[in-house]
Amino acid sequence: MTEIQNIISILFVVMGIIFMLVGSIGIIRLPDFYSRTHSVSKSDTLGIIFVIVGLVIYEGLTQSSFKLLLVVLFIALANPIGTHALARAAYKRGLNPFYSDDEIDEEEHK
């Protein structure tokens, strides 16, 4: 039983780490601030949730796993609010988003 438990929890933690890695690659690859915010908020939230769920499975049904589930809940609540605050601040300061169609227009004019 503990063998299976360990394997499942390792799978979850590895998957979470992969998600966070891809989120970080997304920050470099995507073109502007707003789309980078997408990559940080979405895949990092899921990555952290996967890591913590892996730890919960490793712990089994103890008090610590309930605490970890609370951490998941608070991350899921706080993450969209944090990204919204960042994006809103950028928008209010007048940062124009990158539009894919702008690029197509420029190529047509050349």
């Binding site: 789309s35 979405k42 008090q63 919204h84 994006a87 124009n96 539009y99």
Partner: protein
């Protein structure tokens, strides 16, 4: 300044007490007694904050929310978070990066400021969309590709939020505008 009902006081006491028990893990008299004292202190300090009206259309009471619906909504939201993660990852690891960034503005016809807050949060959590600004009824949303704002355009997701508060179904999203260029001449 509006008063808190007995129901909402009881609900906040019970949830804070559950939080205390999970954090401490002891069930003897002294620890539970200290918990009751602490929860009472927290509720006293937060009383003014909870009775303060930040917007004109603040929700008056927790009992306006339909609880059976909320359970369904939470599970639906967890599913959306997972789909959102996979969606973004699939975009990033493709070599061509199939993005088509657009801004969407729309008006949402929702009963209270809390409903708008929940809708804004849900938009940020669902695949490919990000709430940038809410002013009154006007939402500004950034979308990373064309499929991602389909949930808003077809009115499916805002209706889920509306169902948390009201039984009847109606159109929530109005005046949907899609901005795809910096110069909006056409």
């Amino acid at each position: 300044m509006n008063k808190l009902s007995f129901f909402s006081l009881t609900m906040s006491f019970l949830s804070l007490m559950a939080f205390w028990v999970i954090m401490s893990g002891f069930f003897d008299f002294i620890h539970l007694g200290l918990g009751v004292v602490t929860v009472a202190g927290v509720m006293y300090v937060n009383y003014q904050l909870k009775t303060h009206r930040f917007f004109d259309d603040d929700m008056d009471d927790l009992s306006e929310v339909r609880f059976g619906r909320t359970v369904y909504y939470v599970f639906w939201m967890v599913l959306q978070i997972v789909i959102a993660g996979f969606h973004v990852v699939r975009i990033i690891i493709r070599r061509k990066m199939p993005i088509h960034t657009t801004m969407i503005t729309f008006r949402a016809n929702l009963p209270s400021a809390h409903a708008k807050m929940i809708l804004g949060n849900s938009i940020s959590l669902t695949p490919g969309t990000l709430t940038i600004d809410i002013e009154g009824d006007l939402f500004t949303v950034h979308a990373i590709d064309d499929t991602s704002f389909a949930g808003i355009a077809t009115d499916e997701m805002p209706r889920q939020v509306l169902k948390l508060f009201e039984k009847e179904e109606r159109q929530v999203v109005e005046d949907l505008k899609i901005v795809t260029r910096t110069k909006s001449t056409n």
